[in-house]
């Protein structure tokens, strides 16, 4: 089956990104396809590659990066939500005249249309949030 996953909360503060990760891992293990993971609201914060979590805790972003790379998952960060919250890729940083960017390479920034498309193309869209 083809899944879309929507993540609405940032790492650590809420369990949403962790539960979604465990769900995605189990879906892949069961032979399902993850068509796309869409990061919305504070979920865009998962894409930051500047986080340094305590050594004895999980690294939410790294977990996602590894799962996405191993399974070629399309990881999309909502541009409007990301701009509000200070998440930028190199292109965006340049376009906005900002001095730095902070999105890990596996994530790509795009519009909400990507979420709607996931809703259209997937058999199920599963939401994780607060």
């Amino acid at each position: 089956m083809k899944f879309g996953i929507l993540i609405n909360e940032g790492p650590f503060t809420h369990q949403a990104a962790d539960t979604a990760y465990q769900f995605a891992k189990a879906a892949v293990a069961a032979g399902h396809e993850i068509f796309r993971v869409f990061f919305y609201h504070d979920g865009v914060n998962v894409a930051s590659d500047l986080a340094v979590p305590p050594q004895d805790d999980r690294n939410v972003t790294d977990n996602w990066v590894k799962l996405a790379e191993a399974n070629n998952i399309d990881m999309v960060v909502c541009i409007a939500a990301a701009q509000r919250r200070g998440l930028l890729d190199a292109n965006e940083a340049q376009r906005q005249g900002k001095r730095a960017d902070n999105i890990a390479p596996v994530f790509r920034i795009s519009g909400l249309g990507q979420l709607v498309e996931a809703g259209i193309e997937c058999d199920r869209l599963v939401t994780f949030g607060d």
Partner: protein
């Protein structure tokens, strides 16, 4: 058409479980995850409400979230099924649509 609902909030703190129960049709399923797993405990002030809703709705609870919160299966209302993440995935495939009561 059978729908899968998830509830991830404590029923002692928020109204999500109430709203979910009142809008879940007979034949649908509710999966309790994250802080929502507290809704599966027996002997609480919300347990009766859940038991009553089980006449028509099938309840599931996510085992890893229960264990994290120090709850063992014998504290769960009888008839609520414990699933793991693979079971969560299965439930989404076996129901025709999905709603998360955030």
């Amino acid at each position: 058409m059978a729908m899968l609902h998830t509830v991830n909030k404590s029923p002692f703190e928020r109204v999500s479980l109430d709203s979910c129960i009142s809008m879940a049709k007979k034949g649908s399923s509710v999966l309790l995850i994250e802080d929502g797993v507290y809704g599966a405990l027996k002997g609480t002030k919300v347990a009766d409400k859940v038991s009553k809703a089980m006449d028509g709705i099938t309840f599931y609870v996510l085992g890893p979230d229960l264990a994290a919160r120090g709850m063992t299966e014998e504290r769960i209302i009888s008839g609520i099924k414990v699933v793991d993440y693979a079971g969560f995935v299965d439930l989404t495939t076996k129901h025709e649509n999905f709603q998360a009561w955030l």
